[in-house]
Amino acid sequence: MKSFFKKRTQRKLGKIPSGTFSLDREGQIIASTMPQWFPVAEMRDIGGRVLAFFRNAQQAQMPLQELNVYYPTLRVTARNLRGGALIFLLPQTLPKK
C-alpha cells in the first residue's frame, strides 16, 4: 500500500544515538556532539518535541526547567534555556547480572 506520509530515513537497527546538542527557540541546531551517522533532521525532530513540551507546560501554568524521558534503552534529558534547549541523549545499559 502506498504511504501518504513523508518517509523517514531508517537507521541501522539497534544503534542508539549518544551525544548532546543545543537548539534555539526556533528549533535550529546551534551546536552538536552527536555522531555523524545521526541525521540532523532527527535532531530537529527530537528538539521540536522537547521545545513543545516546555512550551505547552508553560501554557498549562507549569513552567519547567528540566525534562527527563526514560525509555528502556535510552534516557533523554533536556534543559530549558530561555526558549531554546540543551538536549542529552544517554543510552542506558542493562544492569549486569
Binding site: 539497534g14 542508539i16 513540551f53 498549562a60 507549569m62 519547567l64 527527563n68
Partner: protein
C-alpha cells in the same frame, strides 16, 4: 550595650549596595510615624559589624550584593540575633529565593517598589512591624497552618492582609478588626475564594497590613467557615477536586486519593483510556490544561520512542524551582503526579515507580 535612648527609639539598619536607593529610603524611613533611627550599610560585612556594635530592631536587606550576598547576611544575622526582625528588599522576583528567604526566617519579602503605591505599601508594612515591636508580643513560629493563622489574627482582633502562594497560585485573605472581610484567588472572590485557598495543602504566606478600603464580601463568621471546611475536608479525606471543579468525597476516588499518601505528592491527575478519557484529579487547579498537556506529552515521546526503536516511554519527569512533575502511561490511562519541588530527580522517579505499581494494582 545601647543607651536608654537607643532602647526606647527603634533602630533600622538598611543594607544595599545601591547608594541611590540607600539615600532615598533613608529619607523615607526616617519619616515613619514611629520615628525610627535609620542607619545604612552598603555591604554585608559592614552590616554585620554594625549589628555587632549596636542593637537594631529591624534589618532591611537587599539580596543581590557583591562579596557577601543578602542570604549570607540573613543566615548570620538570624543565628546571632534571633529576635531581630528581617525584611528582604530586592529586585529578584524568583519564587525560589522568596521561599528560601522565608525558610531562613525572614519576616517579609518585598520586591523593590516600582510605583508610588508600592512604596507606600512598603513603608506601611515597615511601620506595622515597628509598632508591633513596641506593643510587645511573641513571634518566632515559622511554620503554622493557615487555619491557625486566621484564627490567631481574628482572635487578636487584628486588621491584616494574608498573601498566600501555592506554587503558581496566589491568593489573598483580608481581615478587618478580627472579622473575615474578603478573599480572592484566580477569578474567585469572597467565600468561594476563601474555601479554595483553605483547600491548598501547602504554600507560603505573608502577613501584610490591613486594607481599610476593602469592601466586605464575606459575611459568615470565621468560626463557622473554618468549622464547615474542617468537616468537608475530614469527610473527603483531604481536599478533593473533581474535573468539573466540584468537591467530592472519597466514594469512587479512593485509589486516586490513596496515591497522595506517598512522600512529597502534591497532586494527582488520571486521564482514563480512550474513547471516554475520564478525568479524575486530586489537589489540582487547572485540570483541563494539565490533562491536555499530559496526554500530548506522553503521545509525543511515545512516538519518538517508536521511531528511535528504544522501547516504550517508562516515565517522564520534569523539574523546576516551584514544580516537580512525573507522567506515565498505565493500563488505566495516563497519570500525572505533582511533587514538592524539594524532591530530587531520582526521588521523584523512584516514588513515581512505586505510585505506578500501586495504581496498576
Amino acid at each position: 550595650m545601647g543607651s536608654t535612648d537607643t532602647a526606647t527609639r527603634s533602630k533600622i539598619l538598611l543594607v544595599d549596595d545601591d547608594q541611590d536607593f540607600l539615600e532615598v529610603y533613608w529619607e523615607f524611613l526616617k519619616t515613619l510615624p514611629s520615628g525610627p533611627e535609620v542607619h545604612t550599610a552598603s555591604t554585608g560585612p559592614r552590616a554585620l559589624a554594625m549589628l555587632e556594635s549596636d542593637p537594631f530592631q529591624l534589618l532591611i536587606v537587599d539580596l543581590n550584593m557583591p562579596k557577601m550576598d543578602g542570604l549570607q547576611v540573613i543566615a548570620i544575622a538570624r543565628r546571632k540575633y534571633p529576635h531581630l526582625r528581617i525584611v528582604v528588599w530586592t529586585c529578584i522576583a524568583d519564587e525560589h529565593f522568596r521561599a528560601r528567604a522565608y525558610g531562613m526566617g525572614v519576616d517579609q519579602y518585598w520586591q523593590k517598589p516600582g510605583s508610588e503605591h508600592d512604596r507606600q505599601n512598603f513603608l506601611d508594612s515597615i511601620e506595622s512591624i515597628m509598632q508591633r515591636d513596641t506593643q510587645g508580643g511573641f513571634r518566632g513560629v515559622q511554620s503554622k497552618s493557615l487555619v491557625d493563622l486566621i484564627q490567631l489574627e481574628c482572635l487578636s482582633q487584628n486588621s491584616s492582609t494574608l498573601k498566600i502562594t501555592n506554587g503558581s497560585l496566589k491568593g489573598s485573605i483580608w481581615i478587618q478588626n478580627g472579622e473575615l472581610f474578603d478573599a480572592e484567588t484566580e477569578e474567585l472572590k469572597g467565600e468561594t475564594a476563601f474555601r479554595k485557598i483553605l483547600a491548598w495543602r501547602t504554600g507560603n504566606f505573608e502577613l501584610l497590613p490591613g486594607d481599610e478600603a476593602r469592601e466586605r464580601a464575606i459575611f459568615s463568621s470565621y468560626q463557622g467557615l473554618l468549622l464547615e471546611m474542617a468537616q468537608e475536608m475530614d469527610e473527603a479525606g483531604g481536599p478533593v477536586a473533581h474535573n468539573d471543579g466540584s468537591h467530592v468525597g472519597m466514594d469512587g476516588m479512593t485509589p486516586l486519593v490513596g496515591l497522595t499518601r506517598f512522600e512529597g505528592v502534591q497532586f494527582v491527575l488520571s486521564v482514563g483510556p480512550e474513547p471516554k478519557c475520564e478525568l479524575k484529579s486530586y489537589g489540582l487547579e487547572s485540570v483541563d490544561l494539565i490533562s491536555d498537556w499530559t496526554q500530548k506529552s506522553l503521545r509525543d515521546f511515545s512516538d519518538l520512542g517508536d521511531f528511535l526503536q528504544v522501547g516504550p516511554v517508562q516515565q517522564i519527569t520534569a523539574m523546576s524551582t516551584s514544580n516537580n512533575v512525573a507522567l506515565a502511561d498505565s493500563s488505566k490511562g495516563d497519570l500525572c503526579v505533582g511533587f514538592r519541588s524539594t524532591l530530587r530527580s531520582d526521588e521523584v522517579r523512584e516514588t513515581m515507580r512505586n505510585i505506578l505499581a500501586k495504581w496498576e494494582s
